[in-house]
Amino acid sequence: RRTWRARSSPTSTPTARSPTRAPSPPIKRLRAFHIIESTEPCLLSCPQDITREAWVLTDEAKGYAAGGSREVHLVAAIPPEGASRAALKEEFGDVVFDIARKAAAKNKWIRFERGIVLRTVEDTTDEMQELLKRVENGEVVPDLIKELKRRKLVTKEKVIWYSLKKGPEFVVKRKTLATDVTREHLKSGDWKDLEFKDYNYEAQGQPIAIGYSQPLLEVREAIQNIFLEMGFSEMPTNMFVESSFWNFDALFQPQQHPARDSHDTFFLKAPATTTQLPDDYLEKVKQVHQSGGYGSKGYGYDWKRDEAEKNLLRTHTTAVSARMLYKLAQEEHFAPNS
């Protein structure tokens, strides 16, 4: 995790030199991002991304910088009469001995004679330690950095710097914007000091649970209103089963007409027939079909009662009109709205 290092002076620019440690405790980078974003425009007006790369010592290297390099220790550990490889290995461990031996040999600080490691110099100057200390201090050593990299004593570190300065609405104490008005605000009287965060009006409201009317039935209602407004009275049409008499014969539809075919009309198995029909009216209907009357020539065919008694599912609401007209005709005196 990277930690932030805030400079004590908000206006100074960073350098490659070691940055000073801020008096405040380090904060996590993500949190820092949040602070920068949310405090705009109070605090910042020009955050700048400045990235610098620097070489830093690995932990191993830090150990050497502090306490001296391994090769120096190795040489110091060799007595004037020399020491065996095995003994040295035992003291430093295989890996360390190997590395130290190589480095010391490179520096020509040791020589080998019949399995014994011997010193060649009395004192050693710990150049490695010096070098590491210099890198630690931020010095750039381009020609020697390769060796250090090879020996895994340094790693590249990326450092991102932000430049912050006071914004136009800089305040020392931050004010939180309210998102909602609550009972508590109203009760406590805090509402007087409330400042609101902006609403995002482009967001949708909450979908609500609603009921629906069937659209066809709405159209039906509109049509019904047209007739009601003209003064029409609604007929009772809640009777789906009808006899052929009211559906066809009373409306002068001849009994052999194709509309009375089983292909165009739903006849019924149950209840199959209507036996209750107004007999006197039925006789008149029969006469007009067969031989005419009331100004009509008639159809000139044999009208059958059992054809008229057949039940069906009403094929048109005019069957209701036929019944209504018959009822109206029973009245003593016919007049509108009587």
Binding site: A209, I210, G211, Y212, S213, Q214, L216, L217, E221, Q224, F227, L228, E229, M230, G231, F232, S233, E234, M235, P236, N238, M239, F240, V241, E242, S243, Q256, P258, A259, D261, S262, H263, D264, F266, F267, L268, K269, A270, P271, A272, T273, T274, Q276, L277, G292, Y294, G295, S296, K297, G298, Y299, G300, Y301, N311, L313, P336, N337
Partner: protein, 618 residues
């Protein structure tokens, strides 16, 4: 499982649902009734196909298509389609656009005419009517040739014909000249009449013959099929009548007429005096008397089960084609001698005389015309009109020709006057008296309930009144005791076998088809169910019901209860008596036991029920 509530007048359904496994609905189709062929097309206006150029030649002028459409519109017919013979054949054979097809490029007009205008079914009649309408011709007067009774051709009717096809009427057209086009028109008119007024030859069948190949007098008999032998039209060998039935079973055109006579012990047959078979009505004519382009004298016979229609058909045939006779519009009569000795002379081309007051004609239309104007309008429609010598009010006497068999009443005259005047010219007016409208109380109440349930957040649905037997009973765990539902005798598919006796299956079906809808699903319907009812004249009655359904991942029983509580609250006293508690445990098969109850009024009468729908129902 859904919870449901239903019965008059209030019903509510609820459902809760494990991912619904609603039952598969059968998709089986009921086969069409056995005694008929393929389902008929819906009842349509008859269409006449006429060659455009022939038509214009007959009309005496050329029209642009727009002009002709306007003329048709004014007359009360409609130009339906413009095509060519080639295009028609191409369509019949399902050929591609650029493939060579038979037929020529003569432009054909398909004109739709009213189903009761038999005089417009051929070019001759159509053109003549339009000429009379536009005033370039007067209505013809058809004459019966004056032939002494003794020299008239006779048709003797034998008694056995009463068993199968009692009536026959005949006429003769003398000295006709048939060019190919006229011949085709002659055949086409017979076809159209057969389809139309003859009800596919069941009521009337037409036979036309070359009179010069025959010898009168003729006899109309009915014999056992084994005794009838002849060479039918288009065949070379002799057939016995019963074998002929089998022979035609594979004939696309004729097989649909076989049923009219095939099961009768006697078949109708017409002979001449040499026992040559003229025809086997209504199936086929004999080859011997077939009409050719060279025929000069035509013998027409119409056999029938309806004498009135037989006359109309015969009159139409002779009225249309007597213009090609040597004596134009003259028809030679035939005497029909019945088996009881009575005789009648056909065709009866007499005009039907009507006397109608002027007000009875113009009053119903709402226009004001005087007698002269009405007379000229009627004449345009082939209705010969004249002033009638009546001293009371203005009166018109009308002589309706045999071509206008559709005129039965003064109202028909008024209709023709209105058409000739132009419907668009009739002024609009307001009613003379004021009335106060009103709604049926049941509908007013239903609408209030519907609005209330919609406000409760339910979606209104509109479902079919007809349903399958299975959906109405078995799928609700109910049995049909035969006393409940109205059953259809000729259902078109198994989906429409019975009239619904419950809204519950309708709502469940709706749910099934929308099962992926986001939860909760809340639907309702206010509608009629029908049940058998011996107290009504028709034996059944409608019942207005409310049903509601709730479906969610929880059962929602209390949800539906809440809805019912709301409805009870708004309809109760002083309107409907509900007590303090109106829920009583019930045990209906469509719900889980102990998860249902019925809704009762204070007198204990049940008005509805609700419950969690049984898993078997779902």
């Amino acid at each position: 499982a859904p919870t449901c509530l239903s019965k008059p007048p209030l019903s509510a359904f609820t459902s809760s649902g494990s991912p619904a496994v609603l039952a598969r609905l059968p998709g089986s189709r009921v086969p069409p009734p056995a005694n008929n062929t393929a389902p008929q097309p819906p009842l349509a206006m008859p269409t006449v196909s006429v060659g455009r150029d022939r038509l214009f030649a007959a009309l005496g002028r050329v029209y642009t298509q727009d002009e002709f459409e306007a003329l048709c519109f004014d007359f009360g017919i409609e130009l339906d389609d413009v095509t060519t013979e080639k295009a028609i054949i191409r369509k019949e054979k399902h050929l591609e656009e650029d493939v060579e097809a038979d037929g020529d490029d003569e432009v054909i007009y398909k004109i739709e005419v009213a189903a009761n205008r038999y005089d417009l079914l051929c070019l001759e009649g159509l053109a003549r009517s339009l000429r009379i309408f536009t005033g370039s011709e007067a209505t013809p007067i058809f004459k019966i040739a004056s032939i002494p009774r003794g020299s008239m051709l006779q048709m003797h009717v034998r008694p056995q014909t009463s068993q199968i096809r009692p009536y026959v009427v005949c006429a003769v057209l003398r000295g006709v000249t048939f060019a190919e086009v006229r011949y085709n028109s002659f055949i086409d008119l017979q076809d159209k009449l057969h389809q139309n007024i003859c009800r596919k030859r069941t009521l009337v069948a037409i036979g036309t013959h070359d009179l010069d190949t025959l010898q009168g007098p003729f006899s109309y008999e009915a014999l056992p099929p084994q005794e009838i032998n002849f060479i039918p039209l288009k065949q070379e060998q002799t057939f016995r009548a019963d074998a002929l039935m089998d022979f035609y079973r594979s004939d696309m055109k004729l097989k649909k007429f076989l049923h009219i006579i095939e099961n009768s012990p006697v078949y109708p047959v017409i002979y001449d005096s040499n026992r040559t078979v003229l025809s086997l009505p209504p199936i086929i004519n004999g080859a011997h008397s077939a009409i050719t382009l060279k025929t000069r004298n035509v013998f027409i016979e119409c056999t029938a089960t309806d004498l009135t229609k037989a006359n109309i058909v015969l009159n139409t045939m002779v009225a249309m084609f007597s213009e090609y006779c040597e004596n134009k519009f003259e028809v030679e009569p035939v005497e029909v001698v019945s088996h009881d000795g009575s005789t009648a002379i056909y065709p009866d081309l007499s005009c039907y005389k009507m006397e109608v007051s002027l007000s009875d004609i113009v009053g119903p239309i709402g226009i004001s015309l005087d007698e002269t104007q009405v007379i000229s309008l009627l004449n345009k429609m082939q209705l010969q009109a004249d002033l009638c010598s009546s001293n009371r009010e203005p009166c018109i006497s009308v002589s309706v020709p045999p071509t206008r068999s559709d005129v039965l009443h003064a109202r028909d005259l008024a209709e023709d006057v209105a058409i000739a005047y132009g419907y668009n010219n009739v002024p609009k007016s307001k009613p003379k008296s004021m009335t106060i409208g009103g709604r049926q109380p049941l509908n007013r109440f239903s609408d209030k309930i519907r609005a209330e349930v919609a406000r409760a957040g339910y979606m209104e649905v509109l479902t079919f009144v007809l349903t399958s037997h299975e959906e109405n009973f078995d799928m609700l765990n109910r049995t049909d005791d035969g006393n409940k539902a109205v059953i259809i005798a000729n259902p078109r598919t198994s989906e429409f076998e019975v009239v619904r006796s419950s809204l519950m299956s309708c709502l469940l079906k709706t749910l099934k088809h929308n099962i992926d809808h986001p939860r909760p699903i809340k639907i309702f319907e206010v509608g009629d169910v029908v049940s058998l009812d011996t107290s009504r004249d028709v034996g059944a009655s409608n019942n207005r019901r409310l049903a509601a359904l709730y479906c969610n991942s929880n059962s929602g029983f209390e949800e539906i209860m809440g809805l019912v509580d709301r409805i009870v609250k708004i309809v109760r006293a002083p309107h409907i008596n509900f007590g303090q508690t109106y829920y009583v445990p019930s045990s209906e098969p469509e719900f889980f036991t102990k998860r249902q109850c019925k809704i009762v009024m204070s007198d204990g009468k049940q008005v509805g029920y609700l419950g969690i729908v049984h898993a078997e129902v779902c």
